[in-house]
């Protein structure tokens, strides 16, 4: 078993001039070996590790781009996810790609090997029970796609945040290095293979994105840095808004008997007042950019107060001028940091 792999390795290492396509064809033409390997599912992670440790120097030099596929297979194998001939293909593809220096061909190899693996999966499974085959292939392909997309997402994130992350990762890498991590030499070393840390990362990204959005929403949040301070501001703001509503409803309760008299004008005036007063609120947040997914308030589009800002100059009317000053004073008395 191991000897067969050793022989594969030797072949790959020795014949470096063999073109990639030939290698991949060779990949496809190894049914018997793969069937052998399939029988010993337990040994697969060890095989990988065996490969990893032996091919260290070679692989390290070229795996900067290969980590996508490699790590995509890594977690699969660690979780005992697939039968062994997948591992076989993974190993083989790793060894086969180690000779490639330019990045483009690496990319091509990755794609080709993935396709071939998918194809080989489909081909080989014909001998087995068909329903089970299809299920497994679909599952595997999905998982591959998933992990791949995860890795792609991660690699995108790493491209944008590499500087801030490398320090974290190097410190984390020491604690999280597994044997498979030998193969990934990228900056995201410690975090690559762990499914949990991947999910955690994604979650943290989402949360920080939402925090940024809230920062734009709440006035005065820009000056406070750090999450705790921002959260404080947001809490204060929400509380003050709620208190305002209470205060106003109290006022309304007092005034309620007179409500009927003034009702007729309400419809017209209220909308005028609305239009003129919204800029007063919006002026404190000049840079409102609201994400469509967060505010599905209407099918027509996202909540966009910035649209009303241009109205500010045009629609200010005399009857509501006093209202504006009154509202400003109201804000000032009950505010905890509003700025106008």
């Amino acid at each position: 078993m191991l000897e067969s792999l050793v022989s594969l390795e030797c072949m790959s290492l020795s014949s470096m001039d063999v073109s990639v396509l030939e290698r991949l064809k060779w990949l496809q033409q190894q049914p018997q070996q793969q069937q052998q390997v399939r029988s010993s599912t337990n040994a697969s992670p060890e095989l990988l590790q065996f490969h990893g440790t032996n091919n260290d120097e070679l692989l390290q030099s070229t795996f900067s781009h290969f980590q996508m596929l490699g790590s995509g297979f890594g977690p699969n194998y660690n979780m005992g996810f697939g039968p062994s001939h997948e591992t076989m293909d993974g190993c083989i593809s790793r060894t086969s790609s180690c000779q490639m220096d330019p990045a483009d061909t690496m990319g091509i190899i990755l794609k080709n090997s993935e396709e071939n693996i998918a194809i080989s999966l489909k081909n080989k499974r014909k001998s087995e029970v068909k329903t089970r085959e299809e299920e497994k292939t679909e599952k595997k392909i999905k998982v591959e796609a998933e992990t791949e997309s995860n890795m792609k997402g991660k690699s995108n994130m790493s491209n944008t945040e590499a500087s801030s992350d490398t320090s974290k990762q190097t410190s984390k890498g020491a604690s999280e290095i597994q044997k498979l991590d030998y193969i990934h030499v990228r900056a995201r070393r410690g975090q690559a293979t762990d499914r949990h840390s991947l999910a955690e990362r994604a979650r943290r990204e989402k949360i920080s994105k939402k925090m940024k959005y809230l920062q734009d929403l709440v006035p005065g949040c820009n000056k406070v840095t750090g999450r705790a301070g921002m959260l404080d501001e947001i809490i204060n703001y929400v509380q003050s808004l709620q208190r305002q509503v209470e205060f106003l409803s109290m006022k309304l309760a007092v005034l309620n008997p007179e409500l009927e008299l003034a009702m007729e004008d309400l419809s017209v005036k209220q909308f005028q007042a609305y239009f003129t007063n919204l800029p007063v609120v919006a002026a404190s947040k000049p840079s409102i950019m609201i994400d469509a997914p967060l505010f599905p308030l209407d099918q027509q589009g996202s909540l966009d107060l910035s649209v009303i800002n241009p109205n500010q100059a045009t629609s200010i009317e005399a009857p509501s001028a006093s209202w504006e000053t009154q509202s400003q004073s109201l804000y000032n008395t009950s505010s905890l940091g509003f700025q106008y």
Partner: protein, 162 residues
């Protein structure tokens, strides 16, 4: 008068379907709900005993009904329909003040602090405690917006009656 409002609403919807900012939709819904409710309150009670709590109840109800796209509105509706005495809102605000002070004193553990603040936020948002943090942060955003619009609407109503 109500018909006026309703007609206006309908007309605007049909004539300019693409140009209404959703904030306007909210305020219109809100006022069209609240004003008749207040009138009805007035008519029904007929004494000068219009409770502040019932008004608050109506106010909250209008808020919840006019923002039905959001999760928190469902929670708010539940809360309102289950308890006819809307004492919860007043007590929650006072709780908020107390908790705020306490968290100001705590200096330590950054993550613990942050988590506690997130929990506070959750308490402020109706139904926030039943959501997870991500969801809650998103909902807080639109809750803030709706609260702002609500204050504007209330102010204009108050203004027009004085």
């Amino acid at each position: 008068m109500e018909r006026q409002i309703i007609n206006k609403k309908k007309r605007v919807f049909s004539v300019e379907p693409n140009k209404i900012p959703p904030s306007e939709v909210f305020t219109r819904k809100y006022t069209s709900l609240l004003v008749p409710a207040l009138k009805k309150l007035n008519m029904n009670k007929n004494s000068s005993q219009v409770n502040q709590l019932t008004v608050k109840h109506e106010v909250d109800m209008a808020l919840a009904l006019s923002a039905q796209e959001f999760a928190w509105s469902r929670f708010l509706l539940q809360k309102l329909s289950s308890s006819n005495n809307p004492t919860t809102t007043t007590s929650s605000s006072s709780n908020g003040i107390r908790i705020q002070e306490r968290s100001g004193k705590e200096g330590g553990h950054e993550d613990g602090e942050r988590e506690e603040k997130l929990r506070e936020l959750q308490k402020l948002l109706p139904g926030g405690e039943e959501m997870n943090v991500e969801e809650m942060l998103g909902e807080i955003g639109n809750y803030i917006k709706c609260l702002e619009l609500q204050t504007i609407a209330l102010k204009s109503i108050v203004q027009d009656t004085t």
